[in-house]
Amino acid sequence: MNEGFSIAFELLAVGMITVFTILALIVVFGNLLTTLVNKYIPETVVAKKVVQATTRGVIDPRKMAAIVSAVDIVTEGKAKVTSITKAE
């Protein structure tokens, strides 16, 4: 039993430290990756198209369908989408 407890305490320490370390590394390298991507491959053509579409006030029918079906599922058919505007 005592041996089991010592392994369990060791696991508690090692496990939590490992999980925090891995996620900390993911945060650090993720930020680094963001910096590199922003610097070397900042924008795509697709993103520009989206901006154009929204500035004209026209919403992509596929996005409209996705939003309507998502609202329908979440509210179990109780709510209805009447208009969609981009939040500031």
Partner: protein
């Protein structure tokens, strides 16, 4: 010819069939995790249909040295499925691939710092491991019980296959049942650990006051590169978590690439995932024979699993509270509550609670960030347990 005689000699199987029907009721009638509880419930009924040879037999040296053909011939097709798909640990990584294909890392990328709460919410795994040893479980059994606190079905199953395969049935049932009960468990723990002022913290207002210093300019490129980077980190530090995390990231990668790999994405998130889910559910259910299930350990697993879940939710919440002590940019504790896996139900529940306290406080995206990191966190925790104990 009929099973009446067998039923007379083994009346306890009737209890198991009732349990199987109850699981079917939860899946069909209540809509609790129907994709898993329906196959598991039906598997329980099949396994306890006396004379049907559909129950999974415990692994012995004799079975482990048989060819699959001999297993099928001597013990029936359910054992063939179990020993080829489950005992080898094949299905959980396959399911993780499908989960990866259905996961969007976007919310996590936009709020990377929130990933820490996905780490904090793994505390339930390790604290319940300690408690389980205190009540008489072996270390491997305790680790399998504790992993329920990760709130991730495939991870719990994968860890149990590796460490305590004889407990697979009850642990899978507990894991999926509590995942289905997330809409009950999270509000319960939130009520015990937070106050109204904390629940009113508006994440979007905080973002306006303290905007992100590093906005992403090319999200698509980030979504493709990020899983590869994450896979590299996990492979170096916790190689035993690679079967789960690696497949999760592969599934996500084929999704994010888009048109060139659309067929792979559809296969991973559709046919393959559904097929794997059917066989996983049926075979896990078939491990629940009366001898394997009706004992004291099963009750302890059900209780321990609940405690592990609650501790994990509380761990995430208290991590947020500690963070808020030192930061000007406050975070709603509900974001921490979603640090356990159970994607996306935990986030939806957290969002609903937030909206009750402030109708303008839509924190779904923030909750998803810690929720997705919780999936990675629980897989890493499983990797640590497996590498230490197997």
């Amino acid at each position: 010819m009929t099973a009446f005689g067998n039923l007379f000699h083994s009346p306890e199987t009737v209890i198991m069939i009732i349990i199987g029907v109850f699981l079917l009721y939860l899946g069909i009638g209540k809509g609790y995790e129907p994709l898993l509880l329906v196959p598991i419930g039906f598997g329980v009924i099949l396994a306890n249909s006396l004379g049907g040879e559909m129950g999974v037999v415990p692994s012995t040296d004799e079975i482990m040295h048989m060819s699959l053909l001999e297993v099928a011939k001597n013990y029936g097709i359910m054992n063939l499925l179990y020993y080829s798909l489950i005992k080898t640990g094949l299905l959980p990584p396959i399911i993780f691939m499908g989960v990866g294909a259905l996961t969007d890392f976007g919310p996590m990328l936009r709020n990377l710092k929130l990933a820490f709460f996905g780490a904090a919410a793994q505390i339930g795994i390790f604290t319940v491991l300690l408690a389980a040893i205190a009540v008489g479980f072996t270390t491997k059994e305790a680790a399998s019980l504790g992993i329920i606190g990760g709130a991730d079905g495939p991870t719990a199953i994968y860890t149990t296959i590796k460490l305590a395969p004889h407990l697979l049935g009850p642990i899978a049932i507990a894991a999926y049942s509590y995942m289905a009960l997330v809409p009950v468990i999270i509000p319960f723990v939130v009520r015990l650990t937070t106050n109204k002022k904390e629940l009113k913290i508006n994440m979007k207002e905080m973002d306006k006051l303290y905007p992100n210093k590093r906005p992403i300019k090319n999200l698509r490129a980030m979504k493709i590169l990020f899983p590869m980077m994450m896979g590299g980190i996990v492979a170096v530090f916790v190689p035993s978590a690679v079967p789960l995390v690696g497949m999760l990231l592969f599934g996500n990668l084929v999704k994010e690439i888009g048109n060139p790999t659309e067929r792979l994405y559809k296969a991973a998130s559709g046919g393959i995932l559904n097929t794997a889910t059917i066989f996983l559910g049926l075979t896990v259910g078939a491990t629940m024979t009366a001898e394997a299930f009706l004992n004291f350990k099963t009750i302890m697993i059900i209780v321990g699993g609940f405690v592990a879940f609650c501790f994990s939710v509380a761990g995430g919440i208290y991590a947020v509270k500690i963070f808020n002590l030192f930061s000007n940019k406050k975070i709603n504790p509900l974001v921490g509550a979603t640090g356990l896996s159970a994607v996306p139900m935990a986030s939806r529940v957290a969002n609903e609670i937030a909206l009750k306290h402030d109708p303008s406080n839509h924190l779904l995206q923030y909750a998803m960030a810690s929720n997705i990191s919780g999936v990675i966190g629980s897989a890493v925790a499983a990797g640590v347990l497996i590498s230490f104990l197997s």
